[in-house]
């Protein structure tokens, strides 16, 4: 197990030794984590195992080995799995929709699948979540007539309906324009108040702006678990500015000022600059590649 950084004192979700293979591919390799209230970002390159981890935690697939609990429920048993699903809100990586349904009807459909049986209470809840994601004006519109951003918000409303205690969001901001992304961040931040949110993303800005904790995965393993500040701190003293890309830098790129920003082991006398979350992330990935 790889576990780094500080951990929440009262975890809502905890996993230990999760392993899962697809054929000869090890998608999860001894993953352990502890999530508390608030938004936890899950960073990692493609194929790192982020989506597989989310699917396991969302009880979509069972792990080959290991165990985890969500809000005290063990999904290893049918009853426990049922209870986990009751407490779960899940926004898949590529959410599907029933295009002929209205936004209201689709979220209502999901609410029924969450066993919200009281019709008037359910409708109130559907209206509430559609209002929360800013879709109350278009709730009677068929989904096929909504824009991509609006559809994504319908998917978020479907995840939020029933007030789940554990929200799993798999790259919810992919494909959204900057304005929509900002709106989504706002929504996720609000959703993270009082509940546990696990947010998988490629966007380090999402993590920097939203998350109180961050997990970095690579090669099916957890490479970092801590606060965003701790991840940024990993790059302290390892980011410098120069007029040319330094050949020894792990990564380097020209910035808007014309100077090069280098990440890696700085030469003597380098002009060090303040590290960002992305710098810490890049160095963590680089370290994991070296380890692999």
């Amino acid at each position: 197990m790889t576990s780094l950084g500080t951990t929440p004192s009262v975890p809502s979700v905890s996993a230990a030794g999760l392993c899962l293979s697809y054929g000869s591919t090890r998608a999860l390799d001894d993953v352990s984590l502890r999530l508390g209230h608030g938004v936890t970002g899950l960073l990692g390159p493609n194929g790192a195992g982020k989506t597989t981890l989310l699917r396991v935690l969302a009880t979509a697939v069972p792990a080959d080995r290991g165990a985890f609990t969500v809000l005290g429920h063990d999904p290893g048993t049918a009853r426990g799995r049922h209870d986990v699903r009751r407490a779960l809100g899940y926004l898949p990586q590529t959410p599907g929709f029933h295009p002929d349904f209205t936004a209201f009807a689709f979220v209502d459909y999901v609410a029924i699948l969450k066993e919200m049986t009281d019709r008037s209470a359910r409708h109130r809840e559907v209206r509430r979540v559609l209002d929360a994601v800013g879709l109350s004006d278009v709730r009677g519109k068929r989904i096929k007539r909504l824009s991509g951003g609006m559809r994504q918000r319908v998917a978020l409303a479907a995840a939020l309906v029933g007030d789940p205690g554990f929200l799993v969001l798999d790259e919810p901001t992919v494909g959204l324009d900057p304005e929509q992304r900002m709106r989504f961040r706002e929504l996720i931040a609000t959703a993270g108040e009082g509940r546990t949110v696990l947010l998988s993303t490629h966007q380090t800005e999402d993590v920097a702006m939203l998350c109180n904790r961050v997990i970095v995965m690579a090669g099916g393993r957890v490479r970092f678990e801590g606060t965003p500040a701790e991840l940024s701190a990993r790059a302290a003293g390892r980011v410098w500015s120069s007029t040319q890309r330094h050949p020894g830098a792990k990564a380097g790129w020209r910035t808007g000022t014309g100077a090069f920003r280098n990440v890696g082991d700085p030469p003597d006398g380098a002009s060090l600059v303040e590290p960002t979350l992305e710098d810490g992330y890049l160095l963590t990935l680089d370290a994991s590649e070296v380890a692999a």
Partner: protein, 542 residues
């Protein structure tokens, strides 16, 4: 989205709070989903259109009375006639419920929905239940059809609840088949291919079932060729067994769909194929043991129904049919009306007054002793071949006996008039069948003169619906042949005032009813121009 988004956590719903599994809550969730799916199903264009057409068609039939024969329904035929009309609704439901089950897969929501509280097998149950309202709608339509017929003053006979249940059961069966097909073949082409393949299979089955009639009973509906209604106790249709067979099949198919809904594929559902099991999936949860037990019970029911409906006609039934065909007087109830007696199968005694009215009308025009002859009107039917074949009734050689069939209304009324007139003129049906002379003119005028529209009645009783030239004239037993000359004379007579012709018929009755009287002579006696070539046409075939 506004920036004033409130925290969802602060407005928790009691319904969403994790709680212990309550069977009642789980059932209510399934029913809620079934309601939504049923509404979605209704909004599918094929289902909506077919349902509207079905209801409109039946409504129109009820409003208009169902045509000329519709005023005199025979209820043991009406019940069965409700079945084929529902087939189109069943097929539409099959195709659309199949698409509804596949919706999640087509739209990529399966992965999401599989982690929600309601398991796939319960979603399958909801889809199965979503078909029930359409079966209930069919039951309502069938009930309206039958009640409308039963309330008509001319209705006779007895309906069978089992026959009436077949249409809704068939809709239900086709609906649950649509769900099962979706669970077995997760492709949009599955249901249409099944419909086409099923149609071909049924056609082949029916075409090859002459020697094996039990094969026909494996299909949802068994429509039978039938010329004349039979008394209900002679039908011999195993309707109750067939209903049991359909019920068993519905439950069996539903169980198979539920088992597949939990496991995705039938081999996996039955635990037969390891390879079919998704290696990365939670084990299916659900009352598999209970469902398998119910499926076993349903299989027994289906088998019992299939065996029961395949036993064929019992010797007692065959004997009863033979008796009703060759010696109907043993089964008849006779009722006197005026001078004549009317003998009918017990279910038809209510129609004797209608027959008596025709006899009175025809006899009032006859001359000589025929005007006061005591007739026996006897209802006959050839039931020896059951419902699958029709036989022409042989003319009776009994003097003064007139045959009446089991149908009434429409063309059957003037046909019966022809039968009555034939016996008044020729003495009995056998002798009337051999008529090929001037008496045909008398018979046809007697039969048609008192009808409300004699020319229309003439057209109706002629097989080619003509009012000129030679033609066959329908009668309850043997048909009459009218030559072109006889047609000309009858047409002329029917266009004249009845009272004038009546006086001439009564005055020349003896000669007009003589086998020696030619058509030309009859025309002369009745003061009608003699058609050319009538002598040649009158010659009876040797």
């Amino acid at each position: 989205m506004s920036s004033t988004v409130s925290s969802p956590r602060t407005k928790a719903l009691p319904t969403s709070t994790p709680a212990g599994e309550s069977p009642r809550r789980r059932l209510r969730a399934v029913l809620a989903l079934a309601r939504v799916e049923a509404r979605e199903l209704l909004l599918q264009i094929p289902v909506f259109v077919v349902l509207c057409v079905y209801v409109a068609y039946v409504g129109w039939e009820l409003w208009t009375g169902g045509g000329e024969d519709g005023a005199y329904p025979v209820l043991q035929d009406v019940d069965r006639a409700t079945q084929p009309e529902s087939l189109f609704l069943g097929v539409a439901v099959l195709v659309c419920v199949n698409r509804a089950v596949l919706r999640s897969r087509r739209r990529g929501t399966d992965g999401h929905f599989d982690v929600l509280v309601m398991e796939p097998w319960r979603r399958t149950v909801a889809h199965l239940l979503s078909v029930v309202p359409f079966a209930l709608a069919t039951a309502l339509v069938v009930a309206a059809q039958f009640t409308g017929a039963a309330l008509k003053p001319g209705a006779v006979g007895t309906g069978s609840f089992s026959e009436l249940a077949v249409a809704p059961l068939a809709v239900l069966l086709l609906g649950v088949l649509g769900v099962l097909i979706a669970r077995l073949v997760p492709s949009a082409f599955g249901a249409p291919l099944f419909v086409v393949g099923g149609y071909i299979a049924v056609v082949l089955l029916l075409s090859s079932s002459e020697d094996t009639p039990w094969l026909r009973w494996l299909t949802p509906f068994v429509d039978e060729f039938q010329a004349d209604p039979l008394p209900s106790d002679l039908l011999g249709r195993p309707a109750a067994w067939h209903a049991l067979y359909l019920v068993g099949l519905i439950v069996l198919v539903s169980c198979a769909a539920v088992l597949c809904g939990g496991r995705r594929t039938l081999p996996a559902a039955l635990g037969l194929a390891r390879a079919a099991r998704n290696p990365v999936a939670w084990p299916a949860v659900g009352p598999a043991r209970l469902v398998k037990a119910v499926a076993l019970g349903a299989a027994v029911l289906t088998l019992a129904g299939a065996v029961g409906q395949s036993r064929g006609d019992s010797p007692a039934l065959l004997a009863a049919r033979k008796q009703a065909s060759v010696a109907p007087e043993k089964d008849h109830t006779c009722v006197p009306h005026g001078r004549s007696t009317y003998c009918a199968f017990p279910e038809w005694t209510g129609r004797t007054e209608d027959w008596a009215a025709v006899v009175r009308r025809v006899q009032s025009l006859a001359g000589g002793a025929a005007g006061g002859t005591k007739l026996t009107v006897r209802q006959r039917v050839d039931a020896r071949y059951g419902l699958s074949a029709s036989a022409t009734l042989e003319p009776s050689s009994t003097h003064g006996q007139v045959t009446v069939g089991t149908r009434w209304g429409g063309n059957r009324v003037p046909e019966f008039s022809v039968g009555v007139a034939s016996v008044l003129v020729a003495g009995n049906e056998e002798a009337a069948a051999a008529m090929c002379d001037g008496r045909v003119v008398t018979v046809m005028w007697l039969a048609l003169a008192t009808t409300s529209d004699p020319m229309a009645s003439l057209r109706d009783v002629r097989i080619d619906d003509s009012v000129s030239g030679s033609a066959i004239v329908l009668a309850p037993t043997h048909p009459l042949e009218m030559t072109a000359a006889q047609t000309t004379v009858v047409r002329e007579l029917l266009q004249r005032p009845r009272y004038g012709v009546t006086a001439k018929v009564k005055a020349h009755w003896t000669e007009l009813t003589s086998p020696k009287t030619s058509t030309a002579r009859a025309a002369e006696l009745l003061d009608v121009p003699v058609p050319k070539g009538s002598e040649k046409e009158d010659k009876c075939e040797e």
